[in-house]
Symmetry: C2
């Protein structure tokens, strides 16, 4: 068996409820497969501001640097959403850890479990067979460019900026992944209006020449936002910037039935960082009804990508499938038109997956 | 009857094919209702670059300033999309005319004709009753902020910038419209990350106080991109910036069955500018299969908003409805599962609408 040190950062809102289940799944896998996973916990986000004044305390960052992988929950709090003038904000913690750990590639696989074909607002015949892997650039773009507010507070700006090397490195990762899949890559930008997008397109056109076996397509973000719903099956690997990736992957959650099903892996040069795509969801936080499957599937991605434990990762995915097949559903994936679903809360659902792991 | 001067700018791609039908509908309405509409034509986009070297020739701008309303088609050409290094680009014409004419508010109504309930990739029960009016800010944001490319060409940037007055004026327009509808307004931003969005949210929160009878909600763009597909009926008026509005409205086209059904009105301090949401669509340009209804519905918006001719505007919408009810469809709105549709090209479809106007 392998020995791994995992940092768990539950964060805010439903992150506190679901991340425990990602961790329990990892513990069970370790026991069943004779691995040794040791866990530490770290603070980040609103909870970290409350405890230390800092959305990303140094201690958390130190722990992150010495971990083999990180399991993260969610970040954000209504207090800050309602008061845009607050200077210290939970999201700064997440943005800083992404930057500090060099997590420049955010992989977001979108795949519908057959059992959830009816849970989506999109027609089953449009969805069946859709399987998309997003590569969202994660440490550049308007997220990290200089922010300014004039002294009279009447003008505000953010710099949308990309450097050639930032586009190159994620493009290569996306092309490599496309080769292991259906060998199609769609790069999304707004090159008809934005200079940063024109650089993006130029660089992707260059890198594309290194991968003549992969079919490359360039699409404007507005068109992509439409095509994703109109015909999701046309996409294989989608490569895009930080902001457009944020928007498209949330939208794509409807292809998977619910945001509560979607995991992501952020990788770069060092440690891997695993998190659900969903946010802190303050509207349902504390109610015990959040879907734990995105956290559990994030743990599965960790096993595969950071630890190379493919069999163990598949085992987790199979347990999730089995749980869905048995008819167990959290609210977000319940099908209002079937009576065969057993609707349950976070903990009951998590427990069912654990049972199915054994 | 009224006397109006209308500038017609067909532009590029399918703009050349569909705009003629918007114009013919206006001519028919003038004849039937005893109005006098005189038409001029103007060049813009790729066709203008080819003819004059300039995507927006001064002559077109002069004509625009002296017109009572403008009917526009589409802009863009594959040549420029494939070569991001070209300096003179068709889209510059559209961006410049929006800025020069002060067209800061782009209204995009999204409403599904009952007849097209089955044409969408979204389930009919999710769509039925959806009725959204987007207010997209059109002369600010990252579209118009300073663009830079370093001399080594390895770094590119665009400034995402908003001024208080820009947010105020469109917010007021959106709130006024909400009052005439279901009195709900959702403002979309990314205030958890972007300073420009935090200004946006602050200003909307202030303006909201002037409209206590309108229910205000603030939503992050990623969440909005998801909610739009998950539950489009939750939205009434949606207020957002230039970039987010571009993305969300294209996405929302799936609620209306097809992009080919969607019209828009750009208004500000002077003349109104009417255009389909769809682009130049070079993949189908020249084939005579584009849907002329978006241009025809843009003409209907012109009659209503610029000329105050509500009855005439309704008459056009009714003619479109009648045409759909008779089973006539262009390819984009054909229902693959019915045999009752008569699928036809641009001109046959346009002619059916004209018949139904009489
Ligand atoms: C919480 C927020 C800063 C974050 C982002 O925009 O990147 C989230 O939406 C995500 O997608 O991970
Ligand atoms: C053609 C392009 C510049 C334009 C835009 O992005 O504004 C178009 O997509 C639109 O929505 O009107």
């Amino acid at each position: 068996g392998v020995e791994k040190k995992i940092l768990v950062i539950p964060g805010d809102g439903i992150g506190q409820e679901v991340t425990a289940w990602g961790q329990k799944v990892l513990t069970t896998i370790a026991a069943n497969f004779n691995h040794t996973f040791t866990f530490e916990e770290g603070l980040m986000g609103h909870v970290a501001i409350e405890a230390t004044g800092d959305p990303l305390p140094d201690e958390t960052l130190q722990k992150a640097r010495s971990a083999d992988a990180i399991l993260f929950g969610a970040i954000g709090h209504a207090k800050y959403d309602n008061d845009p003038t607050l200077k210290v904000r939970p999201e700064q913690g997440l943005l800083k850890i992404r930057k500090e750990l060099g997590l420049y590639a955010n992989l977001r696989p979108i795949k519908l479990f057959d059992e959830l074909l009816e849970a989506s607002s999109i027609k089953p015949e449009i969805l069946r067979g859709a399987d998309i892997l997003f590569f969202r650039e994660l440490t550049g773009d308007v997220y990290f460019g200089e922010k300014k507010r004039t002294e009279d507070r009447n003008t505000a700006s953010d710099l949308m900026i990309y450097h050639r090397y930032e586009v190159e490195r994620i493009a290569r990762k996306a092309y490599e992944a496309a080769r292991t899949r259906r060998s199609k890559l769609c790069s999304v930008d707004k090159a008809n209006v934005l200079e940063a997008s024109r650089l993006w397109r130029e660089v992707v056109q260059e890198i594309a020449k290194e991968y003549p076996d992969v079919e490359t397509e360039h699409m404007f973000i507005d068109n992509a936002a439409m095509q994703l719903i109109k015909d999701p099956k046309r996409f294989d690997v989608v490569l895009t910037g930080n902001l457009f990736g944020d928007i498209l992957t949330d939208e794509a959650s409807q292809i998977a039935g619910s945001m509560g099903m979607l995991a992501s892996a952020s990788v770069g040069d060092q440690v891997g960082f695993y998190e659900p795509i969903h946010g802190s969801a303050h509207d349902i936080a504390g109610k015990g009804i959040a879907n734990p499957l995105a956290s559990i599937l994030s743990a599965a991605l960790m096993l595969d990508i950071s630890f190379g434990l493919k069999m163990e990762s598949q085992r987790v995915i199979k347990a999730v499938e089995a749980t869905l097949r048995q008819g167990y559903r959290t609210m977000d994936i319940a099908n209002k038109h079937t009576v065969n679903d057993f609707i349950m809360g976070t903990d009951a659902m998590g427990a069912k997956v654990l049972e199915n792991l054994n």
